[in-house]
């Protein structure tokens, strides 16, 4: 006789499970556990909005309170995905407005959000608390006004790098006087000036405000007004950090910073001028995160600044820091975990700063906890990469962008296969890798053989033949996302590894050599994949089957083919194969 716990007990036990993986595992144990779990799942994460439909989600999980979803492929960030591709969130919001009246959180990345969506959100969900729009587009400041005006318990409004049509700064004034619930506000991507007095009052009446990221239009001399009203801030993004130098501004700023004893993260700092940097020295020892990627200050000042931050765990900075500044970083910041160095002049023909592979090598030597790197530079060598690999076997994210496509090892003029090979051999926990420079099929053999925990791989201008792609698809057991551009990979590797594609979230290939015929075949054979050809030259059937497609996006789905595609995308499936054969 089987005894089982009452549902309530099981539900209580399940409530301690936060990760989707755990909950998914639980739901596979038996039918009753599946049922109990689905009624008590409160958070859902959908990595690809086209992998499932709103109806399917709602049917399975009727009591969701928080949803997170991603839309466009990552390469959309670099203009490789044409305008009008898709990722419209409206159908989701519309369905959820009926099914989830108690929805509290919506987090979206690379999706198209309209003012209509925002208004619907603001009116449909009475307990709405958190809205995070990361790299989204399609809405204006009018939509923000709806959110501000109608969401009575709004805690978080974060517009992280979204493209907002900025009609005016008036939206901020729509927060009613009785709104005191804000914990996090990030408006750094907006251009227009908001009413400063409205901002001041808002900040002043929200005692739980922990994160405030201003936009560039907020002048430096006004910053102390805000800081004095929110000394409890943990994360601050300043507005413009420049002004004609005046002693009174400086001392006000200095004093305001000194009151912020909880500050751990600092960003913004647009147009920063060296004269005002010392004003923030008082908060530097407490900083764990510093984003200087908009600060156009030069190496000596940068070195001085980072030397004041011994507890820094994350630094984002421009290549103005140069090798010398990275040396200072390596000396002073022994807790550093993440480093991102962005190019100040990505399209310049000649280097404008003295930042080389040496800077990264030095940091890899001096910072034992360094595990996450994004580094833009103009020269690299196998020797440097081998050294970095030896120094940092704990690396989990390694994204290197050598600015010149197919640049070889600048010392030996060889491909960089050996260097990246060393990285994957040594860094056994590597989850994300972006390659650049001159690379042959050999590097992919190394990756397929060693990168067993690799989940995301980005490839550009690399490889010699299908063998390269085959190594990756057949060897990388944990691969979820693969994005490839301008590589000579074609039909054979893709068709030979078709089954692999069902184990991944998505595959993007653009400017490669995959033929229309192969796409059709793949679409026909793999009903649980959407094989989408993006071609701006017109219908692929107007060209021979052997003609390569411009762009290809393949993803697993239970939703069937998309119904909202623009006219430059074609789904390859049985129907289309029949029509065009």
């Amino acid at each position: 006789m089987a005894y089982s716990f009452p549902e309530e007990v099981l539900e209580h036990v399940f409530s301690f499970l936060c990760s989707d993986k755990d909950r998914n595992a639980v739901s596979l144990v038996c039918k009753s556990w599946y049922e109990i779990e689905r009624w008590c799942r409160r958070r859902i994460f959908i990595g690809n909005c086209y992998s499932v439909t709103p109806d399917i989600v709602i049917r399975r999980f009727p009591k969701v309170r928080a949803m997170e979803m991603k839309g466009k492929p990552h390469f959309a960030d670099f203009n490789l995905v044409p305008e009008g591709w898709g990722a419209y969130v409206y159908p989701w919001i519309s369905a959820m407005s009926v099914a989830y009246p108690w929805l509290e959180e919506i987090k979206l990345k690379r999706m198209v959000v309209t003012d209509e969506c925002l208004e619907l959100i603001s009116k449909s969900f009475k307990s709405f608390k958190v809205l995070v729009l990361s790299s989204c587009e399609g809405f204006t400041t009018d939509g923000l006004a709806s959110i501000a005006a109608n969401c009575r318990n709004l805690r978080e409004l974060d517009l992280k790098e979204s493209e907002v049509e900025d009609l005016s700064g008036h939206w901020l004034s729509h927060f009613p006087d009785h709104c005191t619930s804000l914990v996090s506000l990030n408006m750094s991507c907006l251009g227009s000036e908001v009413s400063f007095s409205a901002l001041e009052r808002l900040v002043g009446r929200c005692p739980n405000l922990k994160t405030l990221r201003l936009n560039r239009a907020v002048p430096l001399e006004k910053l102390p007004n805000l800081l004095s009203r929110a000394p409890q801030l943990v994360e601050l993004g300043t507005g413009t950090y420049s002004s004609e130098f005046r002693v009174d501004i400086f001392s006000n700023l200095s004093e305001a910073f000194s009151v912020c004893k909880q500050l751990k993260g600092l960003s913004g700092l647009w147009d920063a001028i060296p004269a005002y940097l010392p004003a923030m020295y008082s908060v530097c020892p407490g900083l764990t995160s510093l984003n200087l990627s908009y600060a156009t200050i030069q190496s000596p000042d940068l070195s001085k600044l980072v030397s004041q931050c011994p507890n820094l765990q994350r630094l984002w900075v421009l290549d103005y820091i140069e090798d010398s500044g990275l040396e200072a970083l390596a000396t002073s910041c022994k807790d550093l975990q993440e480093l991102r160095v962005f190019p100040s002049d990505p399209f310049g023909a000649e280097p404008n700063v003295s930042l080389t592979e040496q800077g990264l090598v030095t940091v890899s030597e001096g910072c034992p906890k360094l595990q996450s790197v994004l580094y833009f530079c103009r020269q690299m060598s196998n020797a440097a990469l081998v050294t970095i690999a030896k120094n940092r076997p704990n690396m989990i994210r390694f994204r290197l962008c050598i600015i010149e496509p197919q640049a070889p090892d600048y010392v030996t003029l060889e491909p960089l296969d050996t260097g990246f090979g060393a990285i994957v051999k040594s860094c056994k926990e590597l989850r994300r890798l972006s390659l650049s420079g001159l690379l042959t099929d050999q590097v992919f053999e190394y990756i397929g053989t060693h990168a067993k925990k690799l989940e995301m791989l980005s490839i550009a201008f690399a490889g010699d033949s299908d063998l390269g792609l085959h190594h990756v698809l057949s060897g990388c057991e944990s691969l979820r996302k693969l994005e490839i551009r301008d590589c000579p990979f074609g039909d054979k590797a893709l068709l030979a590894n078709a089954a692999k594609l069902e184990t991944m979230r998505s595959l993007w290939m653009s400017s490669c050599s995959v033929s229309y015929g192969a796409c059709k075949l793949l679409g026909q054979k793999m009903p649980r994949l959407n094989v989408e050809v993006i071609d701006e030259r017109g219908p692929p059937e107007s060209r021979p089957e052997s003609c390569p497609v411009e762009k290809l996006y393949i993803y697993r789905t239970v939703a069937g083919r998309r119904i909202d595609m623009p006219d430059f995308i074609w789904t390859m499936d049985e129907d289309s194969a029949l029509q065009h054969s």
Partner: protein, 222 residues
């Protein structure tokens, strides 16, 4: 397996402006005496990249093409989306060069570093593109970039029978007859203007979107 060679005919799409001195004078704006001639040069050289045969040689071809072009671009010839820098990070250097110009700060459209993305539509093209005006310093640079962006809208040959792509016959005749395309833009006031009348910086400030119209439709603007 027959490799598909994507050859492009030498096609030249001229965007000639009617700009004469007298017209500029009438507008009372700061006159621009040169006729700005936005040529979309669509020669096979410039398009270059044979997609069935991607190797180092071809990449060189792309690089060489850009060096050969008549008007050398101020910035290095760019491959779309490379280096992989997000748009709001692209103009840091340009902003710095211009100093702490308060106008730059005010403009602050998308993102903080003052990128200025506008939609571009070309009559007859199936979809729009976006271009960042702050990437360019002159009308000539913009015209080169647009030419590359829309270069696929030409006659193309696939296999030896010369099958034309999506362009239908009437559009083809237009191209062959060299009918003019006219570049226009929508300014801050919502008016549609001819490109080229005002100084470049003023154009960037006020341009909200671009439309390359067929000459026959642009008559009302002249």
């Amino acid at each position: 397996m027959v490799d598909c060679k994507l050859d492009f005919e030498e096609t030249e799409l001229r965007l000639g402006l009617p700009g004469e001195k007298s017209i500029n004078a009438n507008y009372g704006k700061r006159g621009y005496s040169e006729t700005v001639d936005l040529k979309l040069n669509l020669s096979s050289k410039e398009i270059g990249l044979d997609k069935t045969d991607l190797n180092e040689n071809n990449l060189d071809k792309v690089k060489n093409c850009s060096n050969d072009s008549v008007k050398p671009p101020a910035a290095k010839a760019q491959v779309v989306g490379w280096p992989p820098v997000r748009s709001f990070r692209k103009n840091i250097m340009a902003v710095q060069k211009s100093g702490s110009n308060s106008e730059e700060v005010e403009k602050g459209t998308v993102g903080s570093a003052g990128a200025s993305f506008v939609k571009v539509s070309v009559d007859g093209a199936p979809y729009l593109r976006k271009v960042d005006l702050k990437m360019y310093k002159t009308y000539h640079e913009l015209s080169d970039a647009l030419g590359k962006m829309f270069s696929s809208f030409t006659m193309s040959k696939c296999d030896s029978q010369g099958i034309l792509d999506f362009m239908n016959e009437s559009k083809l005749m237009d191209l062959l007859n060299g009918s003019d395309y006219v570049p226009t833009y929508e300014d801050k006031d919502g008016d549609w203007m001819l490109v080229g009348d005002v100084p470049w910086e003023m154009f960037v400030e006020s341009c909200k979107r671009l439309r390359i119209m067929k000459g026959t439709e642009a008559i009302g603007l002249g």
